[in-house]
Amino acid sequence: MQWDWEFTAEILPKMLWATVNTLMAAGIGYVIAAVIGLLFALAQRTPFRSLTFIVREVVEFIRSTPLILQIFFVYYVGPEYGLWLSPWVAGMIAIGLHYAAYLSEVYRGGIESIPKGQWEACTAINLTMAQSYRRIILPQAIPPSIAGMGNYLVSIFKDTPMLSVIGVEELMQAANAVGGQNYRYLEPYTIVGVIFLIISLTAASAIRGFEGWIRRKLGME
């Protein structure tokens, strides 16, 4: 099979358009994961034993089962309990929760790396628990976590093709559609690969740059 440049040019706009959806899915999913992940991490540090236990089990469960199963579950099992979700909403919930479980471990590691003396200094100037986290602990815990968080940003992006199984119109779905209509799969799948490669590499180096910048800004260099 020969590479067909004409065909490539013909399908490229469609593929690029689908890339926007892929980026959006990764972005929205990641924001959900970052926020819920932080809540998961903080919930495991409260004095309420039962809350800590439940959250820890939920995190463990999510980490031990495949993402694709979770996507199917939210989308196909949800309606049996009256929870009708569009592919986008179901996909964002599934992927957001999945990565929240992973990010919560990153946050937890970051928070636990803060020396006890910092907490004691917070008590000595009488900050509340919330102020201690917001002003003192998290600003120190997050910069060392950025590398780990960045890895998961790239991962979530690379996992978005799984959303095609429930019909989210992202890059993989577009490639399948184009391939099926034209009986040519070489060009669409190659384009998908190249787009993923370019974006992943760019994101990884942007994350490294961001990490350095934030460390300098917080005077940690």
Partner: protein, 271 residues
Amino acid sequence: MEDLTSYPLELTGPDIPMVRFLNVRKSYGELIVLDNLNLDISPNEMVTIIGPSGSGKTTVLRMLMTLETIGGGVIYVDGKPLTHMPKNGALVPADARYLRKARSSIGMCFQHFNLFPHMTALQNCMEGPVQVLGLSGREARERAEELLMMVGMIDKKDQHPSRLSGGQQQRVAIARALAMRPKVMLFDEVTSALDPEVIGEVTNVIRDLTTRHSLTMLMVTHQMGFARDISDRVCFFFGGKIEEQDSPDELFSNPKSKRTQQFLSAVKAAD
């Protein structure tokens, strides 16, 4: 559970101590760290605690800062209970909310400074006043700059702690604690982590503080000369108890307890 009914809800009378430890106990499992401590500290008094490691010195300060829970007894600050709160006419262990209010009159400096590394010296000193006392940014800055001036750190106010020497960090930490306007200041081995040549810059700042009229101080130190110079009273701790307490001149020149004598001569031999 200890019977707390015999403890007063608040201290009354003509001479209310700034701090009172009343039958204070603390143990970790089998290990008794403080054994029925009774200690009064008068307003504006400078009391120093000395003693071998493991004698419970630091625990005294940490309990007063509420960093450790109390095992038994009650601590009073400025006449009011710190570790307990009145409820239905009796004392019960203080809840988080009461503790937060009660400890506002206490400030502490730590052996390892514990400055906030992501903030400049100035920001370290403004954090508490802005967040906790509700001062405006401008008021907090003025107060912080005044204190940094006093500890000789004003020209480094925009530096992060990682750029400062140990002695400089400790001086900023003192300013940070003072910015909260505490009535009682606690110094926990503040010179122990310092290089010998910078100890003086920190002890000089503390020496200056003893001339201020509204500050009660409690210090744990290994600097015997310094303790002798600036204290109003020195307590020698041994095995979770006050073995001996006296004016510095008396305790250092004429120690009565055998253990005090042994400790002082061992320290002298090490110098």
